[in-house]
Structures are given as C-alpha cells and as structure tokens.
Amino acid sequence: MDFKLRKAEPADVSDILRLVKELAKHEEMEDQVLLTEKDLLEDGFGETPFYRCVLAEVQTETSSDAETSSGSKVVGFAMYYFTYDPWVGKQLYLEDFFIMEAYRGQCVHHSSSSSSLSLIMTRIISVCVSGLGIGSELLRHLSDLAVTCRCTGMMFVVAENNEPSIRFYKRRGAEDLSKDEGWRVFRFDRDSLLRMATPTEE
C-alpha cells in the first residue's frame, strides 16, 4: 500500500476534524474538541492562517457487486504553525501529529480461520504489511519544510507517559528541554484569562 503527503486544502476540513476527534478519543478527551469545520476553515484558510496542515493519503479500492472503484482516504495529519524564539528566531511548532491506528507501525489485523496453518499465514502477512513509514516520512517532510522556511528548530510538546512518541522523537535526535533545561509548560484557561484581562481598581 502506497501513500502520499500533500498540503491540506479547504475541502479537507471534514477529514481534519475527523482525525482531530480520533486523536482526542485516543487520549480520552473527545468531548474537549470544541472546534467545528467552520472554525477550521476560517482559521486555516482565511486571510490570516493560524495553522497549516499536511495530510497523508492512501489509495483505496472498494468493490461492490461486479464493480471496483478506487478512491483515496486521508489517514494521517500534521498540524503546525510558526512561532518565535527570541534567542534564535523562527521555529516550526508541531501542534498535532497523528496517523490512524490501522496505518501505523504495528500489526494490521485480518480475520483468520481457525486452522493453525492459516493463523501462521495471517501473522506473517500482518508483520509484512505493518509499518508503512507514514510517521517517519511526515516528520522528514516537516523538518525539510522547517529548514526551507528558515526555521532554526522544530518544537513540540509530548506527555511524559507517551513513551512510544518520546522514543520515536528521541531516536531521531530530539532534545527533551524539560528534562535537560528544566522548562515547564503553563497554561491559563479562559476563566483565569478573563480575570487577568479585567483591569482591577488599584
């Protein structure tokens, strides 16, 4: 199965939202996704894009009755934007990075019969089709983009219990700035933000 990477277009917002929700579901936070397709359209494809997106697409074949039709399916995405480090300049910030489970580097499950021979064959087939390399290629594509766009670094945040992701990034040379330099990430939510925004009487 081959795949290709391409820049997202306005017509892709429903696929982007689908994958955003799938990623959130994976983190058990699906109800926290408040964005709509309309938000994604305005924010990503309006006059001032607040994000950019690269999609991973595979070719699909479906058959019904005597006909076979082919199409494509969006199976992964990376959402990023440009930020600024006042010490070294422009950075590419990777906000979301997700490949659908079935297309990642793990066994793809096929239905199998109960005979031991076909079970063995299924396992072999599963191992052979795992690991399309979409994640690696996406990361390579993004870093190439970062270099082309004059960024001095590519940054992102990962939860420390997300060991597969941390291994994936560290294997490729990422530095853990929280561990090595002691940087901690802080957030003000809407309520705190509104409280701070209201001028208090001195």
Binding site: L35, W87, M154, F156, R172, W183, S192
Partner: protein, 174 residues
C-alpha cells in the same frame, strides 16, 4: 512609579534586544542568544510578523542608571489548539530589576490577557524554568496551571544538526 505599556514599534528593536539579552542572563543562558536587533526588526515588523511585542516606558526623570526609559517588555504570538482554536503564547515577559515591585509585570500580563480576550482566545500559554520560583509563583497566583506537573508535558526540540539530519533522512532506508 509612573509607567505606560504600549505596542512596540520597529524603533524599539534595540531596546527589546537589550532586554532579551538581560533576560537570558537571568535565565543563565546568555550564550544562547544568537539574534540581532536587525533580525527582530525583520521578523516582528515586516510583512508577515512572527510575533507581537509590548514595551513599558517610564518618564525621563525615572530612567534607569544607564539612561534607558524602556524598562520592560512582553513578546507573544498566536498559536492554535485543535480543541479550542486560536491561543496566545507569551514567550517572554521581563521587567528590569530596578523597576520590579511596582506592578509593571502584572500590568504587562493583564495587557496580554486583554489582547487574548479581544481575539477570542481560549488560552494563554507560556513556559518557565523549573528553578524560577518567583515567576512560577507569580503565574500560579494568577491562575496558571503547571501542565508539566499535572499532565507530564515535556517540551522537545529538533535543532541544528538534528534538524538537518532529519530533513535529509531517507525515509525508506531509515
């Protein structure tokens, strides 16, 4: 103490650069500043600005011992959450040591929050160093959640040769 908070102009780049360097010294990373005032002008005041900046000015009669009237700054930019949309990231917030304790930091943070509110941002995010207790306490007091503590968030980066290697990596052969 009298002071005003205003949007920075390109004429402020030398002062902003000076204070970026002072903040880096405070963070014990002075050798990591590679940027110049010209870079700041190109990146923040050109056609597609990568950041916005507020500066704090004091009257001439209250200038610093070295003669500066620009005594603080906040540098921020817009980011995007796939859950809530546009957010503000406060990258730097700094007040010269002599001018602290007069509500300048609070005023800068409040102004950034107002800007975030105007743009209908749901979040304001920032990073602070582990050992920087004054800053961490200040942000906690103002209602910030430490996501490194509560959710285990770690900041990762590829830069320099690791970024170049990654860009040149042959996907099939890796």
């Amino acid at each position: 103490m009298d002071f005003t908070v205003r949007a920075a102009t390109k004429e402020d780049c030398k002062d902003i650069w000076r204070m970026i360097t002072e903040l880096a010294v405070y963070e014990k990373m002075a050798d990591q500043v590679k940027i110049s005032p010209e870079d700041l002008e190109r990146d923040g005041f050109g056609q597609n600005p990568l950041f916005e900046c507020l500066v704090v000015e004091v009257p001439e009669e209250q200038k610093s011992t070295d003669g500066f009237i620009v005594v603080g700054y906040a540098l921020y930019f817009y980011t995007y959450s796939t859950w809530t949309g546009v957010c503000v990231h406060l990258e730097d917030l700094y007040v010269m040591p002599h001018f602290r304790g007069n509500g300048i930091g609070k005023s800068l943070l409040s102004k950034v929050a107002q800007i975030a509110k105007q743009k209908q941002c749901a979040r304001l995010q920032l990073c602070a160093l582990e050992w920087n207790t004054p800053s961490r306490d200040f942000y906690a007091y103002k209602g910030a959640q430490d996501l490194t503590a509560t959710e285990g968030w770690h900041m990762l980066r590829f830069d320099g040769h690791t970024l170049d290697s990654l860009a040149q990596e042959d996907a099939k052969g890796s």
